[in-house]
């Protein structure tokens, strides 16, 4: 079963890449862009048929490796 995870920077954590993307978009004429936050997307293929059990395993993986909880939040989709 494939479980999808999004990891994003917490609010208030500086995101220089997001800022650069926003400035570039503004420069390209997308003047309505107020901000961009860049994150990460994972698709984890777990050998598990029960979705709830798979998600519990992935949550553990997020806490231990996929996200750094000092600066990042994760969301299991």
């Amino acid at each position: 079963m494939k479980i999808k995870v999004i990891v994003t920077l917490k609010n208030g954590v500086l995101d220089p890449q997001g800022k650069a993307i926003q400035q570039t978009l503004n420069g390209m004429g997308f003047s309505s862009v107020n901000g961009v936050r860049q994150g990460k997307f994972f698709e984890v293929d777990v050998n598990e048929k029960d979705e709830a059990k798979a998600k519990i395993k992935v949550e553990d993986m997020c806490k231990k490796l996929l996200a750094n909880l000092v600066i990042e939040n994760f969301e299991i989709l």
Binding site: L14, P16, A20, L65, N68, V70, I71
Partner: protein, 227 residues
Amino acid sequence: MKSAVIIFPGSNCDRDMDVALKKFGFKNEMVWHDDEQLPKSDLIVLPGGFSYGDYLRCGSIAGKSKIIKSVIDFAKKGGLVLGICNGFQILTETGLLPGVLQQNKNIEFICKNVFVKVNNKNNKYFNSIDKDVLELHIAHNEGNYFCSGDELKMLEDNNLIAVSYCNEKGEVNENSNPNGALQNIAGIFNKEKNILGMMPHPERMIDKFLSGEDGSIFFKNLLNNLK
């Protein structure tokens, strides 16, 4: 005195560190990341570089490698663990040191000499060092130290900010901050001060003709403190 330098796939300052340690009298051994046992050592060094290609987050994969369990055990028993640059990133990813090293504020790889102020000499690394400001080298893309407000207060209250970016006179201000690091933090200790993580490379400043000698001062002093 015996030291060991851990080599990860992608480490690139491991040999420089080996040369520096031997130059000042350490008996150094190189240890592969896939080993499980550390040799008997007085000092373990996690060197600079790009372990595992900086995949996922700098230091995150190395922080889960086989040898790291032994490094954590060694550190928790009070053994000296020094992490330079990527080694500092690995130490934060293992949780041995608080915080995280984020991308530099200006999104540029920075490679230059900097000055750092030694804030705390009450430890094995800087005890009786005769300089307050050291000129060292930095080369990193992710050196922008960040931690929570509580962690920063803990670091400040316990005087655990080991070195801060400063100017030649030792003044710590925004102009002397190369990468956006919180409070100009260049390196920190754990509470017991046996673990030191710092972005600047002392091993690159051990030859007065090639670079400078403030790294020599650091290593000579460290060896003396361990004798």
